[in-house]
Amino acid sequence: MALKTWKELPIGCVVSEPGSASEYHTGSWRSQRPIWKNEKCIKCGICYVYCPEGCVQQTEDGFFQANLDYCKGCGICAHECWPHAISMVEEG
């Protein structure tokens, strides 16, 4: 999507499309990504509860994963995971 010029901006930069923030992929900010070791995971969901972005999702088999379009790599999930099932890995 081409970026708008200053003349094309709506007055006061009012955003008239509800939910359009989801088009902005904050995952581009990330320098580390969370990796789950499912053999250690007890499916308690603490990563899901603590994720400030709400980007941790539970899969059909009950384990968890991050939506990498939005995961900023903050590491809170890995910090809170007491069975140590999550590790933060540097992005290539």
């Binding site: 970026l3 901006l9 006061g12």
Partner: protein
């Protein structure tokens, strides 16, 4: 034609705002603005106007409340002074970035410390770059007229910016002056209903004040700068319309006895009237002195200032604030910068005066002229001096 009445200026400003069909006001009282807050509150409580008066717990909340109300499409008003304005500071650029046509009176008062409740311009100057239209008035009549006109300017579809009207604290707010108060019918005729550029309403959800990163921030700043620069045309048009309807003409830069003047003085706010008396006295003695009054502080009237000042030999710029460790007073910096590219430009002298309510008599203004005219070697030009400070 409105009735000629005598009234305290702060009360009259509230009366004038009461004629403007406001939907809400959120005003936290602070000396010397309090009578505006009190009287507006009375107007609502007595059922004289159909508006909400939101009793907020601080100026930060007052500005937040008018931002929210204006976003919802309400004609919104507030007023403050000094520390209250400083407390609003972080919200001022948000109001202008969201292009919300909020109107505000500032009863100008010195900023602490030391604590002082009296008049100067040290409260408005730190707000200079907040993207608000900023107007200075000289007397009670102007305070009323500008307060009413501020809604029409702010809400014009080509402007959509907040406006502050600077009314010198005590020197103006607490004076009982005679003036002509427009009638309700006249204001109804002058001021069209507020048509917001967008509103917060569940039937058509929008986001106001959204996040923007480096890919958009500069474009948004440019759009805001263009908007405030372009507002000058609307401001002048609205003032002209007022002149046609009420017979009182206002211009961004006003002049008095400038045509043949050897030395000019530039003032902003209520001190212009005292300076004008000094000009008359000097003229009677044969001194070719003249006066320039700056009414519009933002957008700064560059072209008008250049046109008036470029041919004079000496110019005295008076300031009621100081930029510590900088080039002098803020008005001085602005005027100097406006004239820099001119082939012919005056020697400029800067006096910082009337700080914290220090009284200024006619002889003080005359003294400035005499001092500048006596400076035959031009050594004092391009410097600033605290007028009347004890050495």
């Amino acid at each position: 034609m409105g009735k000629r009445i005598g009234m305290e200026v702060a009360v009259a400003v509230a009366e004038a705002v009461g004629l403007c069909n406001i939907d809400m006001a959120a005003v936290y009282p602070i000396t010397p603005q309090s009578h505006i807050a009190e009287h507006l509150s009375d107007l609502v409580a007595d059922g004289r106007i159909d508006a909400e008066f939101v009793t907020v717990e601080s100026e930060h909340s007052a500005m937040s409340a008018v931002i929210g109300a204006s976003g919802a499409g309400a004609r919104s008003y507030t007023a403050t002074s000094s520390q209250g304005l400083m407390y609003m500071h972080e919200l001022l650029p948000i109001a202008s970035a969201m292009r919300l046509p909020i109107c505000m009176a500032i009863a100008n008062r010195a900023v602490s410390g030391p604590l002082n409740i009296l008049n100067d311009h040290t409260d408005i100057m730190p707000q200079r770059d907040s993207g608000w239209i900023s107007i200075f008035v000289e007397n009670g009549q102007e305070a009323i007229d500008m307060s009413i006109m501020s809604f029409k300017i702010a809400e014009h579809k080509d402007v959509m910016l907040p406006v502050n009207v600077n009314i010198d604290g005590f020197q103006l707010t607490h004076m009982v002056e005679p003036f002509e108060m427009p009638t309700q019918e006249e204001v109804n005729q002058f001021l069209p209903p507020f048509v917001p550029h967008a509103t917060l309403h569940p039937s058509k959800p929008v986001t106001m004040g959204a996040f923007a990163m480096s890919d958009y921030f500069a474009e948004i700043m440019k759009a805001k700068d263009e908007a405030i620069k372009n507002s000058k045309k609307v401001i002048v048009d609205v003032w002209d319309e007022w002149a046609k309807m009420f017979g009182r003409k206002y211009q961004p830069v006003e002049t008095y006895q400038v045509e043949d003047a050897d030395v000019l003085m530039l003032t902003m706010g209520s001190m212009g009237e005292t300076a004008q008396i000094a000009i008359d006295e000097l003229r009677a003695k044969g001194v070719k002195a003249g006066l320039v009054k700056l009414r519009l502080w933002r957008p700064f009237p560059l072209a008008e200032i250049k046109a008036v000042l470029k041919n004079v030999k000496k110019l005295i710029v008076t300031d009621r604030a100081i930029s510590f460790g900088g080039p002098g007073g803020p008005v001085f910096s602005e005027v100097k910068s406006a004239l820099y590219a001119e082939a012919k430009r005056p020697l400029i002298y800067n006096y910082i005066y009337g700080l914290g309510g220090r009284d200024m008599a006619v002889k003080d203004f005359a003294g400035m002229f005499e001092k500048v005219l006596a400076d035959t070697t031009n050594q004092e030009s391009d410097t600033y001096e605290f007028w009347g400070v004890r050495e």
